[in-house]
């Protein structure tokens, strides 16, 4: 199924292979008593977040496997982009996240025996006639989740107009709105979401692909793979596997969500259930952005000053730094700091890694704001200060920079707001900031129309004080103008 930004994981893999001298994965799991599992919990009923905790069929299965091995399962909820590099560099022991076993993936990682059979199904509006299988999709507009096996499968067939969506709930929403004719996705997820909140939709026909999910492991974890296979076999023999199947996919399943009568727009009941998690997301986003900005401003100023000094040996590396940071995607920088640095022995927690990546990125942009600000000050100011006997450093500190700061308040405010919103990218390394919280809640409640406006509102509430602070500074520092003659 899902393989979002697969190229990124592939590109980073050679950089993050675990060193040969490390203890084996199974030894580490036994010694520490924890099995660390990476998952992208936005895929109910297989894995999703409920009340701040991971839930779902695969979560229960992972807990059962850990119990069988005599250890505790610890879940790290991260977006699909970030899971595989983290697996390769040893941040997780295993990935259980509806990963279809494919030949390409088998080349770069190990898989357990398959534990679940899935396949693609078609969802349509109840009023639609004449769509019962993939052959009927020719000439239709079909929604899929981006980079999934659904997309790959349909691309092989001619005559279908594909529309890829970031998450499956958005595709269903568009189907309900009538902009597309059908949605193709993993059968259990489609069924769950339709039951949950798309009363006007239904699944039709049979699964038309056979896909098998496996537990993904790093290439060096063969011993853990064998232990997990044995545990899977024992769980199946004991009947526990059937019980889980019944619990999550049986006809009488309560967990599949209560059906609702009408498609919902804004739902106040969901707000009551989710505001605490949204606030937790706000808090993380705010801490992350403010601490990053607090580092980015002085570092940006230092870079600007290094570049402004003619002939200083630091000017060249500073210029290279700015070029490099501005020329590469922030997402790659975040992944690099979190996943690649550990191979050089630098192990940083996710928050620190995210804050460092955001700071260093923003510093490159703020340095250009400061540099432009300094260059905008009339040369005569520097000359006057020097003629009075000040050194260049004194003139910079006492005359040029105070005037620069007044001028750069508006662009620096811009940069601060951009940083706040860019901080959503750290979800790839498992930080549940506001946007990620929104993603989890929107898929859990299949209510994007309620959750995303709320997320937007909370972002607005965070940028507002920033804008006000900037207005205050501008008023206080306003260069005195002619109109105020004494």
């Amino acid at each position: 199924m899902r393989a979002a930004r697969w190229w990124l994981a592939i590109a980073l893999l050679p950089l993050v292979s675990a060193p040969a001298w490390a203890e084996s994965t199974l030894e580490r799991v036994r010694r520490s008593g924890t099995l660390r599992i990476g998952t992208d919990a936005t895929y109910p009923p297989l894995e999703y977040v409920e009340g701040g905790r991971c839930e779902g069929f695969e979560i229960d299965l992972a807990n059962a496997l850990a119990r069988d091995l005599g250890v505790r399962a610890e879940f790290v909820n991260a977006s699909f982009d970030g899971i595989f590099p983290a697996l390769a560099n040893g941040s997780f022991d295993a990935v259980i996240s509806s990963v279809t076993i494919t030949p390409e993936r088998s080349a770069s990682m190990l898989f357990s025996d398959p534990y679940y059979e899935s396949g693609q199904r078609i969802a349509v509006r109840r009023s639609t006639q004449g769509i019962a299988g993939p052959d009927d999709l020719v000439g239709k507009r079909v929604g899929v989740q981006i980079n999934t096996t659904a997309q790959y499968e349909l691309e092989k067939r001619r005559g279908i107009t594909l529309t890829p969506y970031n998450t499956i709930d958005l595709a269903l929403l568009d189907l309900q709105a009538g902009r597309i004719d059908a949605v193709v996705g993993d059968a259990p997820v489609l069924q769950y979401m339709i039951r949950q909140s798309f009363a006007g939709l239904e699944t039709v026909g049979r699964r038309f692909t056979d896909e098998r999910f496996g537990i993904a492991l790093a290439r060096s974890s063969d011993d853990l793979r064998r232990a997990l296979n044995a545990a899977l076999w024992r769980i199946e023999q004991s009947g526990e596997f059937d019980r889980l199947n019944q619990k999550w996919f049986g006809e009488a399943s309560e967990r599949s969500g209560e059906p609702v009568a009408t498609p919902r727009a804004f739902d106040a009941g969901i707000l009551a259930r989710t505001w605490r998690f949204l606030l937790a997301g706000v808090w993380l986003t705010a801490r992350l952005s403010l601490s990053s900005l607090a580092v980015a401003l002085p570092v940006g100023l230092a870079i600007a000053l290094a570049r402004l000094r003619p002939g200083a040996w630091l000017a060249l590396p500073a210029a290279v730094y700015v070029e490099f940071v501005r020329g590469t995607p922030l997402l790659v920088q975040i992944l690099f700091i979190y996943f690649v640095l550990p191979t050089f022995g630098v192990h940083l927690p996710a928050f620190t890694s995210g804050a460092i990546a955001l700071s260093l990125n923003s510093a490159a942009y703020t340095s250009e704001i400061f540099r432009a600000g300094v260059l905008s000050i009339d040369e005569g100011q520097m000359e006057a200060a020097r003629a009075l006997g000040m050194t260049d450093a004194q003139a910079m500190r006492r005359i040029i920079l105070p005037q620069t700061f007044r001028r750069v308040v508006p662009p620096v405010t811009n940069e601060g707001i951009a940083l706040l919103k860019d901080s959503s990218l750290v979800s790839v390394i498992g930080l549940t900031e506001l946007a990620r919280t929104g993603q989890e809640l929107a898929s859990r409640y299949a209510a994007p129309l309620t959750i995303w406006p709320l997320v937007a509102l909370f972002y607005l509430l965070m940028t507002f004080p920033l804008t006000r602070a900037a207005e205050y500074l501008e008023r206080r520092w306003r260069p005195v103008t002619r109109s105020e003659r004494l």
């Binding site: 009075l388 006997g389 004194q394 006492r398 260069p479 005195v480």
Partner: protein, 250 residues
Amino acid sequence: MIEVTDLVKRYGTHTVLGGASFTIEDGQIATILGRSGCGKSTLLRCLNRLEQFERGRIGIGDVEILGAEERTLSRAEERALTRRVRARVGMVFQNLNLFPHLTVMENCIEAPRVVKRLARAEAEAIARRYLDRVELSDKIDAYPAQLSGGQQQRVAIARALAMEPDVMLFDEPTSALDPQLVDDVARLLRDLHELRKTLVVVSHDLGFARRISDRVIYLEDGRVVESGTVEDVFNAPRRPETRAFVRGLS
């Protein structure tokens, strides 16, 4: 005494000053005259080391500056030389370059505090003395943008004086002023004479030069072609070109 000997200044292949020489006695007011582009502003900037020059010598009291081709200075030597020159020579720029984010008083105490490390009270006492002298005591809390052009010029003069230099350089002090204000500036400069400062003024205003100067230096194409008292240069110029200039503009 200011002694300038065979000063050569080039920008690339363009020679701005081609061997200028003159002397100015302590306490004199000297005016450097000449058409625009003759090198007079560059010459002024050489006197306080805002510009370096290739050859020749400038002596200001016991401070000696030599051309870059004659003596190469290390960074530390250059810094030490610049410090000594600037301690002795103050400058009032053509467009003043007041610090717009500082009040009149702050403009005048910034350099004394930063460069001479004076305490605020001491720096303010000195600044007040010079602000009194330029009749701006009632404007000390104003910002430059709140003042008229003439007042701004007097702030620039007080700011330079607050560093207590021996020599004051003025670049085109009358260029931006109304005719009646030119009288005020002339009076102010004569007044600085009482402080026993040596003044070097760049101007193309002959009437102004005639009224204030003890000595006139006429520059053409980077060379001093006339040098002497006001009477010498204005009434009995040695060269026909100078005569035309003096007649044409006065």
